[in-house]
Amino acid sequence: MVSPGALRVVRCGGSALRGARAVYLLCASGDFVKVYSVNTEETLRLMGGHADLVTGIQLNPHNHMQLYSSSLDGTIKLWDFMDGIPIKTFTVGSKLLALYTPATAEDSVFVVIPKKGERDTFQLVSVKLTKGAGQDLEAKELSVVLDGVGASMKHIAFGRDVAYVVSVKDVNLQVYFFKRKLLNRFSLSTMKTKGGDNHFSCVVCHPTEDCIATGHADGKIRLWRNFHHRKEYTYSTLHWHHDIVMDLAFSMEGTRLLSGGVESVVVQWHNESSCQKDFLPRLGSPIEYISMSSDGALCCTLHTDNRITIINSNLRFSRSIQGLIKSRDVKTGLVVDPRTKALVLNGEPGHLQFYSIQSDQQLFSLDIVQRQYIHQAGLKQSDLVKVAFSAQGTWLATVEESEEVTDPELQLKLWFYHEETQSFQLNTRINTPHDNHITDMCFRDMDELGDDSLILVTTGRDCVFKVWVMVEDTDPEAQQSVSWSCDFVGSYHNYQATNCCFSEDGSLLAVSFEEIVTVWDSLTWDLKCTFCHPPGNIRNICFGRLTCSKYLIGATDYGFLCCWNLLTCALEWSAHLNIVVLQPDPLSEHIAAVSWLSKESSLFVFKPNEPRPIYIQRNLCKEKILLAAFVPRDEPEVISSEKYLWLRKSQLFFLTDTQELMTLSTKSLEERLTPSSKQLAVEENLPVTPFSLLLGKHRRQQAQEDIDLGKPVVRNKQEQASPAVKELLHTPAHVLPSASFLCTIFINSLLISKENKSAEEVADEAEMESEKAEDDSDEEDVTEMEQEDTSHMELLGEMTCKLSKSQEKELRKIRKTDYSWISAF
């Protein structure tokens, strides 16, 4: 029942491309194909069905509403991406590494598959897609086109009118002409450039001319012409990038060429000349793919940190779609922002991302380092390593350090949440708070006391822990009223301080020094007692909560989990477990511990007062779990099974070393993906047409009248004008009766009826009530909506536009047919 469902697969395989009208953006993301709206950046659909990584997606050249996708599981699927329905599945058999659907090839697509019998050799084959009646079809008719091609989909391109296909690998370029069945090979000499690596990295073909553009690992772009001849071919070179050219894209007319790479700059080359170029710099992270929309109006770039940027045709940044940003290394740990309940972790380099789990969106990105990040390999730039929030989320402490090992450039920054601007503002910056790396940091969490009791503790490898307190500025004319300064420095026998933790009431501070845990009084900073349970350095410590607040839990390097009783100062119990992560639930006594044993992670949930775990999940996942966090739920979930009671108040999230975020859930995947937003999204994405303007005006007018009358109307309900109208708008066009039949009814519904009198109304409503009872059986959601609406109408009284009884019935019929149609799928 409990399944480790990957909430979001962070790697971005495959390319993004667009629907015909540049309204939808399709992106292969892990095992899914995602459909985004270009206008609102929202995820409209998540099309799942592949069992493995989706490697390529291409629009059906004969039907722009359909999409082909290929996957490592050996299938090609044909989708109707408007509705998110799989139409056909073709099973090829072997792994598919890339997919191409050139326009002229009838009924066949090209895929890259590994060559049988040989490792790391791939071939381009054309697959004949058989026409059959069923959904699942076999596609075994393969014919090899090219041998020895690159595995990436960037290494093959089809020329104009599918006259030829180009493949690059290492320093070789192959061009195969379909008509003449001729294969031309060109190769660059590896010795030609001094020190530079001129391997091919990507290839694209000009849409109208016989021209091939190739990107190289040394940052050069070569434009090849005249490649029909083996000897007299020519090429010209464009050079701006200093590192590998990751992707290239021609505009629809072929006048512009876009290139991108590690520098995270999109370069636009005009007319294939190197003198005329435009730049779009500082896109945030290295560019992985570039894709043009079919009408040429938009272009989008895919970045290594799991983000899609949409760029206008005049090379202006338009918008970006981003979920959880993948950073190189999550050093900050998973922290929960008490204010927004968002997960906080490293985002872009030097930034802190606030990621909302509920909406799978980045709430905002806070620039901590505030320095220009240079996208260049081998540079040691400072990055965020530690983050801590105070209990209410009013204070944020961050530590940044440069990657240099010997002399780290450390900065401790304290940020205050500014209510007016709704963001964190820098309050204090402390240079070199410790002489060596900071290992841990925590605030004293005290809800009931005011800000005066706020204390920050940092532990460092320089063998001390420091206590930072707020100091009120005495100068009345100073800009800031408070700042932070060091209050106390503690050490223990010159051992490195590794972890720190405050007890729930804030009276005790536990600091671990290598193998020893010390407990300090937070008022007088006296050393109260020490605990040591050799062997092994302390990896994690935490205090128990609520009823178990007298216990202190510690995990050591050598695989021991120890629980000490603070009242008796004795070891209560210990267990032999290689604990990697120890995470207490802030709302209950439960503590989650994740162990790592022989290539599998296991989860143990226990209460400190009893050594027997409440819940054990062996083999949670194959990857090593690095971090975990309890995120409080908005409202306690109803969980029937006693085994999972610990999940009632908060949810547990994990981050693995491959940067996949996972959670434990008692519900199945389908339940969690709430479909409610989809309908809404479609409606919002309707293009602005005269009709929608008319409708919008009508609604606004109605709202205005409500206000004028001063009636107590619940605001958010006003949008639903009438259930019937809404139904009408949401029903697909092909199941509706003819427009001429609906028109008069609909227009009438928009008119404001004046003669509707109370007697009639009451009768109408009684009618509706009875009909609703029928509806209850078949559709629950709708009845809810209707109930809301009837109450709404009662409030509105005679001013509301209402459908007559017959019209109501008519529309209701329509709706019923509609739902039966859906249930067929």
């Binding site: 500082r282 896109l283 945030g284 220009q372 106390f488 900073w525």
Partner: protein
């Protein structure tokens, strides 16, 4: 898409004095003009009417100085012995003064001979003053009495002999014509009402009182004297002590309010003038003088500060004119007006607002860094104005270049003049702890790069030697510091008990930090 982020220049808080609005305001005076008087200057008083001349009482003369004159424009010298406390009436036309012989003289500003002479004190009169009705004078003498005199008839109205020691200071209320106070060496300040026969209020200062002051509102009273204390009393609450300030370390001799009444100035024999905020009673600024201060006065609008010393030197500071701002404002006015045109226009509902993107102004080095021109960016910050006045900018750019890995190439390929410039900067700033870590790398790189050409230029060689010398000195200094630290540690170790080991470390921590930064030579 993120915009270019300019280089972060580390603002290092300067130790010691902090720059506040007050420091800027009180620093806005020109270099002082020194005027030599014949003896210790015991009183300076500004005329309350323009052109704000001031009377300086020193030895047996009273000099009247004009605002910018260095020579007295008028002198009253009809004194047989030392004159004291030459004070203007509040219309600026009469001047009263006490003297060593016990007589009080009243002068007309335009005349020379005294208009009136008030005889009655048997001992020297150190304090005289006009009551705010203009027709009466109060005085305090070394015969322990404080008297009230009628100007028209030159007679004594009343004599209070309540003090038990010399009366050395006094002040009249500005709101009530009958009220004045006197402070005495008997440690008290007494408040007299001319309508009653005895003092109305007695305030125990606790030390001999050298100076008293009433606030313009009459509600607060400030007293100061031998005990180094400046005490503020609430008169309306019956002489309750409001605050006691101890910022001087010698006798406080004079008190003065600035023209707005927001700041209180006190001068002392310890050669300092302290300026307090009258809201928080914290020292917001202080002036240093060459010798002990006896008297102090501030002209209306704080235009001039005049301080009199024990050695007879009169120190006059004039405020710097703020012409620059006015000029630039005048120039900008017409363009500003056109710019402002339509600013009050409120967009209507159907108007479509187009916001103009704000243009960001980048410094020159930022522009160059944005386009990755490392060498030119370094050139930009090696220009003398930046290098001399804001070395932190130069160092920040060097650090940024180091971070980008292009510092070496930016430093290389420079001619003799530029290398000289670079080395001068490094040699001068490398010992500053906040720059050390960066400049040590820079110095390393320069020596690496220019090692082959050492000996070809005398100037560069000289700079290298200078750098070596600076570093050698710093190392010696740090060694000495370490020795002191060692000594202190032994002292602390004997003081503290075993369980307070951590306390000691927190104290020594400040010093170790400095040493850490310099250890990498």
């Amino acid at each position: 898409m993120a915009a270019y982020k300019p280089v972060v220049v580390q603002a290092c808080p300067k130790l010691g004095e902090r720059i506040t609005q007050d420091t800027l305001y009180w620093r806005g005076y020109k270099t002082p003009v020194q005027i030599k008087e014949f003896g210790a200057v015991n009183k300076i008083d500004f005329s309350p009417v323009p052109p704000y001349n001031y009377a300086v009482t020193a030895s047996s003369r009273i000099h009247i100085y004009g605002r910018y004159s260095q020579e007295p424009i008028k002198t009253f010298s009809r004194f047989r012995d030392a004159a004291y406390c030459g004070t203007y009436r509040n219309d600026g036309r009469l001047l009263a003064s006490g003297s060593e012989d016990g007589g009080i003289r009243l002068f007309d500003i335009s005349g020379k001979a005294p208009l009136r002479q008030f005889e009655g004190h048997t001992k020297p009169v150190h304090v005289v003053g006009f009551l705010s009705d203009k027709y009466r004078i109060f005085s305090g003498g070394d015969d322990y009495s404080s008297n009230l005199w009628d100007i028209p008839s030159a007679t004594e109205i009343v004599s209070y002999s309540e003090h038990t020691d010399y009366v050395r200071c006094g002040c009249a209320s500005k709101v009530n014509a009958d009220v004045f106070i006197t402070g005495s060496y008997d440690h008290t300040v007494k408040l007299f009402d001319a309508r009653t026969k005895t003092s109305v209020m007695t305030i125990e200062h606790g030390h001999p009182v050298e100076s008293v002051l009433l606030f313009p509102s009459g509600g607060l009273l400030v007293s100061a004297g031998r005990g180094r204390y400046v005490k503020v009393w609430d008169v309306l609450k019956g002489g309750q002590l409001l605050v006691s300030l101890k910022n001087h370390h010698k006798t406080v001799t004079c008190l003065c309010l600035n023209s707005s009444g927001q700041r209180l100035l006190s001068g002392s024999l310890d050669r300092h003038v302290k300026i307090y905020s009258t809201t928080s009673y914290k020292v917001v600024h202080s002036f240093n003088y060459a010798t002990s201060i006896l008297s102090l006065a501030l002209s209306p609008e704080d235009e001039t500060i005049v301080v009199g010393m024990t050695n007879g030197v009169l120190n006059v500071k004039h405020r710097k004119p703020e012409e620059k701002n006015e000029k630039s404002q005048k120039k900008r006015q017409p363009t500003y007006r056109t710019y402002v045109k339509g600013r009050t226009y409120m967009p209507k509902q159907e108007d479509f607002c187009v916001s103009k993107p704000v243009k960001r102004v980048l410094r020159k080095y930022d522009k160059l860094l944005r386009s990755f021109q490392s060498s030119k960016a370094l050139d930009a910050v090696l220009e003398p104005p930046i290098m001399l006045h804001t070395p932190e900018v130069t160092v920040a750019v060097m650090q940024e270049l180091h971070r980008r890995g292009t510092l070496r190439s930016a430093l290389a390929g420079r001619d003799e003049k530029q290398v000289n410039l670079l080395l001068t900067f490094v040699a001068r700033r490398v010992i500053e702890p906040r720059f050390t870590s960066v400049l040590v790398t820079v110095a390393d790189m320069i020596t690496d790069i220019y090692q082959p050409v050492v000996g070809q230029s005398a100037i560069v060689d000289k700079q290298f030697l200078k750098l070596q010398e600076a570093i050698g000195k710093e190392i010696d200094y740090q060694e000495e510091l370490l020795e002191v630290l060692g000594m202190m540690d032994t002292l602390f170790a004997t003081f503290t008990k075993k369980r307070d080991t951590c306390l000691e470390e927190s104290k020594s921590n400040g010093l170790t930090e400095i040493i850490e930064t310099n250890r990498n030579y």
